[in-house]
């Protein structure tokens, strides 16, 4: 067994997910099966392989393509960004210029 009930609860807490007892059991079994399958990655020797986080960086050298977006940063100039009303209007509880949430700090 790769993953215990406690592991599932720990991950759910990290991910801010509330799970029912039944969901905990279902996910435990399914994640266990998936992770057991994923163990096949261990068959490969990757000691000397650089991890690939982003395809564009890894690519340009191999293909001889000049991916300019990675060497050119745009000019650092001020641009108008008057979106506060539009953005706040999407919240279920906002009072300009704030989003309102339950009390965070106890005193």
């Amino acid at each position: 067994m790769k993953i215990s009930r406690e592991d599932v609860l720990g991950v759910a807490e990290l991910a801010h997910l509330e799970l029912s007892p039944q969901e905990i059991d279902t996910y435990r079994g399914q994640l266990d099966e998936i992770l057991t399958y994923i163990d096949k990655l261990k068959e490969l020797d990757v000691a000397n392989v650089e991890p690939m986080a982003q395809v564009l960086f890894a690519r340009s050298a191999a293909d001889g393509i000049d991916v300019k977006s990675h060497s050119e940063l745009r000019e650092d100039v001020l641009r108008p960004c008057d979106v506060a009303d539009a953005v706040l209007s999407r919240s279920s509880d906002a009072e300009k210029p704030f989003f309102r949430v339950p009390k965070v700090i106890e005193r």
Binding site: Q30, Y37, K42, Q54, D63, I65
Partner: protein, 481 residues
């Protein structure tokens, strides 16, 4: 059976130019078709007749003034519901965004509209594009227009079904691990995944940022080239969009493919491949050989590891991206007595089972003590898979494979077994990890009448080459082989 999609980009253009139809009439014709078929197919989640009429009127006014028409003038198009549309509800197939109305357009949408396209509405999809059958939509399962007891594929199932049923001339989908190509295959239409970075992701609601791509579904290859010509290109609003010049997709489209080297990886034709699918794709390859292509056997030794690497990387990125749904700024909020309780209750109620499963898997893979064993290792395996592709493209101009191991399966057939569903992505996730362009083209049908798809991969930023082969295949009758 599906109605044959009767309009194409070219025929719309010609009819508008000759004033045989107006953009407004065309839009209302499509809305009538949608009204008739959508209750059965569930391809659309939201229709946008008002902005569509305004856009159609702009096109008709341009026609009346005798102006030169932009490339997609009056073309009725559908947009997958993970792509932001200003003022038009965008749910991502999720309850957590049931009432969300974006304050801006995605760059791809803005480009379509600038090109004169009329956006009819938003298409159904697996929740946050996570799924291969469209059964993970929080709203309704899309039905395959070719066989309504079967899935249309996923996650862009609504977009594929809309085009296949003639409810849009073209549609935007998104592809992270096969979500354009596999539904294209299941519904019997072309679906193109562009190179990573070719089409801006600005305004695309993120699933897995290093893998997500926007691309077109169309009824034919010329239309795919037309849509690509509009949506491709650098966008300063997406730092991962490439400043590589956009090819002229028309230039090579009709060129003969004689002499091109097509690689056929043996690893894609082994165990698990349906015998009828295998037979059709082999026939497709034989047709390409008759058209003068040189068939070259390939080894892509890391293919078998692609699913494992993909499902770690994609879920890890998803767990991070979906942390934003906390009830604070937009979308569903379920009240709680503390902030954390509000997050937890909102996410519990707002997310469906597959999204939760992937968030759990991704969170686990990124958590302390497991990062090296899973996430870092998966990224290294990703590099090996990408190397398989770059090695192959030193020897060949394109790689030909089946798109999916089976034709469309029945609704409910795989929905209780997530791992089996993941394993069916085997032929598409490889190219996704490598970031190369790939198209699924129709390649005949099984004896039961279910469409088969053949996949064509090309080197980075060589959509032209992929489209050229697809077009030659179409011209030679390959779609109905």
């Amino acid at each position: 059976m599906s109605a044959a999609p009767s309009w194409t980009v070219a025929s719309v253009r010609e009819a508008l130019g000759k004033k045989k139809v107006s953009a407004r009439e065309l839009a209302s014709e499509y809305y009538k078709r949608i009204e008739k078929r959508n209750p059965e197919l569930n391809a659309y989640l939201t229709l946008s007749p008002e902005p569509a009429s305004r856009q159609a009127d702009r096109v008709d006014a341009a026609v009346a003034r005798g102006e030169a028409l932009p490339p997609l003038a009056g073309v009725p198009i559908a947009v997958k519901d993970v792509i932001s549309t200003l003022g038009v509800r965008t749910t991502c197939g999720s309850k957590i965004l049931e009432t969300y109305i974006p304050p801006y357009d995605a760059t791809a949408v803005e480009r379509l509209e600038r090109a004169g396209a009329v956006i009819l509405g938003k298409t159904n999809c697996d929740e946050f594009a996570m799924g291969s059958s469209n059964e993970n939509s929080a709203y309704a399962s899309v039905r395959n227009p070719v066989a309504p007891d079967r899935v249309p594929g996923g996650s862009s199932g609504g977009s594929a079904a809309a085009v296949a049923a003639g409810l849009a001339v073209a549609a935007l989908g998104t592809d992270t691990g096969g979500s354009i190509r596999q539904p294209g295959s299941f519904c019997g239409i072309p679906g193109l995944m562009p190179t990573y970075g070719r089409v801006s992701r600005y305004g695309l609601v993120a699933f897995a940022s290093s893998l997500d791509k926007i691309g077109p579904f169309t009824a034919n290859i010329a239309d795919a080239a037309a849509v690509m010509g509009v949506i491709a290109g650098h966008d300063p609003n997406d730092s991962t969009s490439a400043a590589v010049p956009v090819e002229n997709y028309w230039e090579e489209l009709e060129k003969p493919i004689k002499g091109l080297r097509i690689g056929v990886p043996e690893d894609y034709f082994g165990e698990g491949l349906d015998s009828e699918v295998k037979e059709k794709v082999q026939a497709g390859i034989a047709l390409l050989e008759r058209l003068g292509c040189k068939r070259i056997p390939l080894q892509m030794p890391h293919t078998d590891y692609a699913i494992a690497a993909y499902y770690i990387i994609a879920t890890a990125e998803a767990s991070s991206n979906l942390a934003r749904y906390d009830g604070v700024r937009y979308g569903l909020r379920v009240p709680g007595s503390t902030l954390i309780e509000m997050y937890r209750k909102t996410r519990e109620r707002g997310f469906g089972p597959e999204v939760k499963r992937r968030i759990m898997l991704g969170t686990y893979a990124l958590s302390a003590g497991y990062y090296d064993a899973y996430y870092l290792r998966a990224q290294k395996v990703r590099a090996l898979i990408a190397r398989d592709f770059s090695d192959a493209f030193r020897k060949v101009d394109a790689i030909i494979t089946p798109t999916a191991p089976t034709p469309a399966f029945r609704l409910g057939e795989k929905s209780s077994d997530p791992l089996q569903m993941y394993l069916a992505d085997i032929y598409t996730v490889t190219g996704s990890l490598a970031g190369v362009p790939g198209i699924s083209v129709p390649c005949g049908s099984t004896k039961a009448g279910l469409p088969v798809g053949m996949q064509i991969f090309g080197p980075h930023f060589r959509e032209s080459g992929v489209l050229q082969i697809a077009r030659a295949f179409e011209n030679a009758g390959g779609f109905a082989i």
